[in-house]
């Protein structure tokens, strides 16, 4: 482990620790941007308490975590209840370490892939090619982006279960890049059980695992089937542990039907608050399709030569359009964007995106406070801010996709071209 990373880990760990012991930790924990009904620590405690007292936590309306999180939290809260925030900090730092090593091997693979094709590249494109030093630089930027992102710091201090899912996702990325198939699929199955949406990541993973194979399709099918059976097995284990299937409706059903309309940073809450009852189902399923499989196949065909890029895009898509998004998940996909550092010359909306991120991050909690506490604003204000926040995320996402395509084009056709010519989609 290099020294820079070690120092970053220590410093960001210290930041997390000092904020979590400060008097602000409680109010951070209760913020709607950080804690959603799906990941809040308060609900986790309630679930564990009910489970401990012989009441099925999935019977009620409070607890929506997967049974494995329930078991783990039950064990942790009982035995290490006082150190829970420390444990979460360590897990968060571990995620950063996994992101570091995962992105290291992804960068390495990118470089190797480039070496195979470099002869076909145009002259003067060195600027946008992966260089050897990127293998060391990029992982550190990724880990740094995760460690010092205010979103991930707040998420960790808020003790949400998104810390766990970020850890699982980082394991997915690490094991995918290292070709550790079983661990990768297992982690993804756990994460799918918790958040449902990440199941789409099986596509880039299947692509990555079949890259150097002869019978690619067979391999891909095997990966998907293995994932499905691991996922089914996990649910069956959960069933035998809980004694009934109620947890399925309480986790997946709760996510798909968006039953809790508490304000959050996503698009769902106000939309389905104001929805007419007879159109509810239609829009619900349309939105869920939009989040999961609408873009899955087109994007797969477009970016199939780089499963890692596909993974970044899919992960950010499901985060933006999920029914209960939180800033912890956003922090995670943002830490993967530096992997595509060489695309940055083609990204044109950087200023707009960064500015709206900053403005909405400040404005969001402010208008929320005005609405809930000062009674001088209403739901529309907060809705407006979340709308702009979503838009800026979408800009970031589409900008990155365009930049990737443009870079690919320029690598073969040269960076400089006639002023009378223009790059456009046809």
């Amino acid at each position: 482990m290099n020294k820079k990373l070690l120092y970053s880990l220590l410093i960001s760990g210290a930041i997390r620790y000092f904020i979590s012991i400060s008097k602000y930790s409680r109010s951070i924990e209760n913020h709607v941007e950080i804690s959603t009904p799906l990941n809040s620590f308060k609900r986790l405690k309630e679930g564990v308490f009910l489970y401990d007292n012989g009441i099925d936590p999935y019977d009620g309306d409070i607890f929506h975590e997967s049974p494995f999180i329930l078991i783990a939290a039950n064990f942790l809260l009982k035995n290490f209840g006082e150190f829970i925030s420390l444990i979460l900090i360590i897990i968060d730092l571990l995620s950063a370490v996994f992101i570091y090593y995962g992105s290291k091997s992804i960068s390495k693979r990118n470089y190797e892939r480039q070496q195979l094709e470099v002869s076909t590249y145009a002259k003067g494109t060195e600027e946008i090619q992966f260089s050897k030093s990127d293998i060391d630089n990029i992982p550190f930027i990724c880990a740094f982006a995760y460690l010092f992102n205010p979103y991930s710091i707040l998420n960790c201090v808020g003790q949400t279960t998104t810390v766990w899912s970020n850890f699982l996702l980082s394991v997915v990325i690490y094991s995918m890049s290292k070709n550790m198939k079983f661990i990768c699929l297992l982690a993804l199955a756990f994460e799918t059980q918790k958040n449902f949406y990440p199941f789409v990541l099986i596509v880039p993973i299947a692509l990555a695992f079949s890259e150097n194979d002869k019978s690619k399709n067979l391999k891909r099918i095997i990966t998907v089937v293995t994932f499905a059976s691991i996922f089914g097995l996990l649910n069956y284990i959960a069933f035998t542990y809980m004694g009934n299937w109620k947890f399925l409706d309480s986790t997946f059903g709760f996510i798909i039907h968006c039953r809790d309309l508490t304000p959050n940073i996503g698009l769902f809450w106000y939309f389905f608050t104001e929805m007419f009852d007879h159109f509810r189902e239609l829009f619900l399923y349309t939105f869920q399709l939009n989040t999961t499989i609408l873009y899955l196949f087109p994007l797969t065909f477009t970016f199939k030569e780089s499963p890692e890029f596909l993974l970044t895009i899919l992960l950010s898509l499901v985060t933006i359009f999920s029914s209960y998004p939180c800033i912890g998940a956003i922090a995670f996909y943002m830490s993967l964007i530096p992997l595509w550092k060489r695309c940055s010359p083609f990204m044109s909306h950087n200023f707009i995106v960064i500015a709206t991120f900053i403005v909405t991050s400040i404005l969001g909690p402010t208008v929320y406070h005005l609405w809930m506490y000062a009674n001088s604003a209403n739901a529309n204000f907060y809705f407006g801010v979340t709308l702009v926040f979503c838009t800026s995320q979408i800009f970031l996402l589409t900008d990155l996709c365009f930049a990737y395509l443009k870079r690919k084009f320029c690598l073969t056709n040269g960076v400089t071209f006639d002023k009378t010519m223009k790059l456009s989609l046809e």
Partner: protein, 565 residues
Amino acid sequence: MKFLKILIFLFYFSIVHAKYHNNVFNEELVIKELNNNFVNTFFQFTTQWNYQTYNNDLLHTDFLSRSISELFLHYDIVELHITLSNGLWKTESWGFPIESAGSGGELYAWFKNHLSEDDIKKQWIELSEALSGLLCASFSFVEETNTINPEFSFRPTSSWNVPLNSSFLRYTALPREVVCTENLTPWKKLLPCDSQEGFVSLLNAQHIYSTNYHSLGIHVRHICIDQTCSNAILESKQTVNLVHDLKLFGGSEWSIRKLFGQGLNGVCAMSSSSKIFLDITDKDFEISPQPENVILSKRGGSESRYAEFDVRKLVQESKMINIAIINKKHKTIPITRPPPLFAKRFLLGTGKESGKIVNQITNSHYASLNIIILENIPWFVPIYLHTLKVKTRNGEIKPSSIKYIPGEQRKRPYYLEIALTIPSKTIIEISIDFDYIFLRWQEYPPDANHGQYIPAAIISAMLPMALNYTSAPIEASLYAESFNATRPSYFLRIHTEALLINLPTPDFSMPYNVICLACTVVALAFGPLHNMTCRILVLQKKDETKKSFLQRLKEKLFKKKEKSE
């Protein structure tokens, strides 16, 4: 043959006999002065009807209203309790009520034990709909979403041949219900006498609804006479509990005419007794007319005196009967002695994000008391059981038992029952955290910013002494049976305040705007993603003919000028 004839005759005789002697109707009025110039009047109309359970006899009613007996026939109920009240009974200064009721509507019923869970569900909804029509009250709002079956707080008061457990009980409270004339008129019609005759004639809407507290009640139960319950009594108690503010009547002296706007015009012809009991314990006033009888009631360590008026006798002397309190002496200021147990309920927390429901219960008795607290919290107020705390000044108390069924959105309420012991002379605070949630816009009631009600908590206790206790024993039919009724313990039920919480509201005027805006954002992602996945990047010649907006504008302006020149 002769034997058979005799038998038939005997049978016929018994039926005729039954027709005339199996119906009993009693009117009672209890009047009690409360502290701080308030007067409590409590009416109780008791109808008892002995009928045969095996041959659908329930349809051939005499005194009892057929609409009530039909409920029992159709919905297989053993026992039914309805109260409709408005205002708050201030237990701390007024003492225990004769009959406690939560504000708004409250309804609970015990069903027969042969019914299955689903049957009870169905019957309960149908029953509440029937009652809704019968009493012009919003009992049609009773659904699975606001119904619970409390395990400890309620016990059947009927003597049914098979003991019933709580799975046959359904309880609901409608705290939003506004009680008024439209409930009183049908309520009166259930009585055997016309509303112009007997004690009912005092109940004029105009005077009842200007009181500080009013509560209408209907309590119907079965009492089996034999083992097989082939012969049972259906007993219906209709009660009215009122608290009048004497300040409105100009002074502390009062009379029936002042309180109700008219005197009593006689008795109901069907009644077998019509009595007024006036509490004169430690009171220093004269009564006109003089009571013919004073009852001394010793009950569980407390002594009280009641002046008894038999209206049947009084009515022979004058047509209009009025009982008045005169010559009140104001030499002493009464010391308010709070009852042994009373409770307050309030909300804590600022903002509309999360808050705390607090029940503050005071035990002013010198011994510890065992109590049960029942919370019935609507589904839109999610509570966190792990935050439940029972605090005293010296630390926390551990409840001896907790029964909790978590609520589910749009399905069932949160039900919480806590059994605990309050140490002597202690105030305890039971607090639990809750979240304010956001509902669908069509789920908010009209006038959404008025807020939503959380029903009252119910506190039940077995008091070891009858100090301040005024209710009749559970098995008693008449209020008169409460005199000298010493028991090992006295069952007490009190209701706390209902709470009003203000949920955050969406903007009700802009569903279309929200739908359009949110869909636009979705389209913002769809457009570019669709473009880049379905097309390929190419180098294209810039369209020279395409000019910028400014250029085109300039050209247009110039052209216009040229033309005008």
